[in-house]
Symmetry: C2
Subunit: 224 residues, 2 copies
DNA sequence: TAGATTGTTAATCGATTAACAATC
DNA sequence: TAGATTGTTAATCGATTAACAATC
């Protein structure tokens, strides 16, 4: 056995893109939003310390987060160029290359998400909704067409859509997920209150209001 | 200085309630949902191992989580009594003592949340909505009255409502939060894409779709 | 009894925070 | 230069996972 040449510098790069911790990644949108506001106020530079202060975050945490995404080091005494930083974040957040998605379940929440104009700022383009209810099938919601379930496989495959959003009742979530996967979907954003089993290779992100609420109300009880 | 009598057993109790890790707490609703299904199928006992398997979770993690909420230890070879476990979780999740809430911002998402019937299963009772739009003020949404903002302070104070749900555009979030706090709200569930500054003592939970999406789509990019 | 399942103790991992040296 | 702000290294903390003994 040859001694292997090991490449284990920390923050190790994989070609070009260094790996960003999940926790950092989930804070980036918060920074992004903050920076946009500063930019629109005409602030050319932003320091990690004032940003931490305004967002009620730990200063070291913010500095580390910024260091891991910024292509240009921050300047002592100045901070970071607002615009440049925004651009760097855009890349890591994937806000510049569009992801197409389909949404299944055009009920209350589904309708809201279809109508939500903000997704395009996040690089997400929901191209169509699907449902079984004849009252919504064939209509437009938020400018997006709503089709019957029979159209799903074909459309997803033809457009090569990668992301599926599930907003159906819990009982139907698994069936819908299977359908999406067999149509070639690579990732699922699940708003249904149900566990979904998926073949390895398909990514899932569960959105769980009940869980958030649980943490919140438990903290509320502790106060007494 | 006297040597102090130290009470630092792990999982240390604070009177009666042992402290449950946040991570555990956020998984409880998932277990709860799973257990409800098992109970409705008539399964008297549930083992942590089969549960872990079905939910694609680590078995030790589930065992630990259950151990920290169950009032009765699980029986080797049998598992836990489904019904008993559900009851124990109910307590920790606060699903049995109702929390009243008001919701501010009866737009798309606000309407959806007002109409959502599931909250009552989570011990949450949204008693009213508030908005500035004369088209919704005075109407009922999901069986809940919608009032103008001028009614907010009085109603919150009179009913002693503890929780405020914010579903207004980002730009108004801080103003609304201040209003809620000055009316006596103790906790805020924020769906607006904005950072909110609060006096210490008031709890906040930010619901951040953009953050979830960021994590998801970054994992999706990695695949290539 | 043997085996499944439990609870617990120890090892690992990732994220946060503290301390500090570098620099514009 | 002095001071604010940076980046980095080390310490701490919490959560996950692995190993194992206890028990129905």
């Amino acid at each position: 056995m040859h001694p292997q040449i090991v490449n284990d510098k920390k923050g190790m790069k994989d070609e070009k893109t260094l790996v960003i911790p999940k926790a950092t990644l989930s804070r980036l949108p918060i920074y992004y939003c903050y920076l946009q506001e500063r930019l629109s106020e005409g602030q050319e530079f932003v320091s990690s310390s004032t940003m931490a202060e305004s967002l009620s975050l730990n200063a070291v945490q913010v500095r580390k987060d910024l260091a891991s995404v910024s292509s240009v080091p921050g300047r002592p005494k100045m901070g970071f160029r607002t615009e440049l930083l925004l651009n760097d974040m855009k890349t890591y957040l994937g806000y510049d290359n569009y992801n197409e998605a389909v949404l299944v379940g055009v009920g209350g929440l589904g309708k809201t998400l279809l109508q939500y104009p903000g997704f395009k700022n996040y690089g997400l383009d929901v191209v169509a909704g699907f449902d079984v209810d004849p009252n919504v099938v064939g209509r437009m919601v938020g400018g997006k067409p709503v089709y019957g379930m029979d159209k799903l496989e074909n459309l997803v495959r033809r457009l090569g859509v990668q992301l599926g959003i599930i907003t159906v009742p819990g009982a139907q979530a698994q069936i819908v997920a299977d359908l999406l996967v067999s149509a070639g979907i690579k990732a699922i954003w699940n708003f249904a209150p149900a566990h979904i089993d998926l073949p390895s290779g398909v990514i899932i992100k569960n959105e769980n209001l009940a869980a958030s609420l649980a943490v919140l109300s438990s903290r509320l009880q502790e106060e007494d």
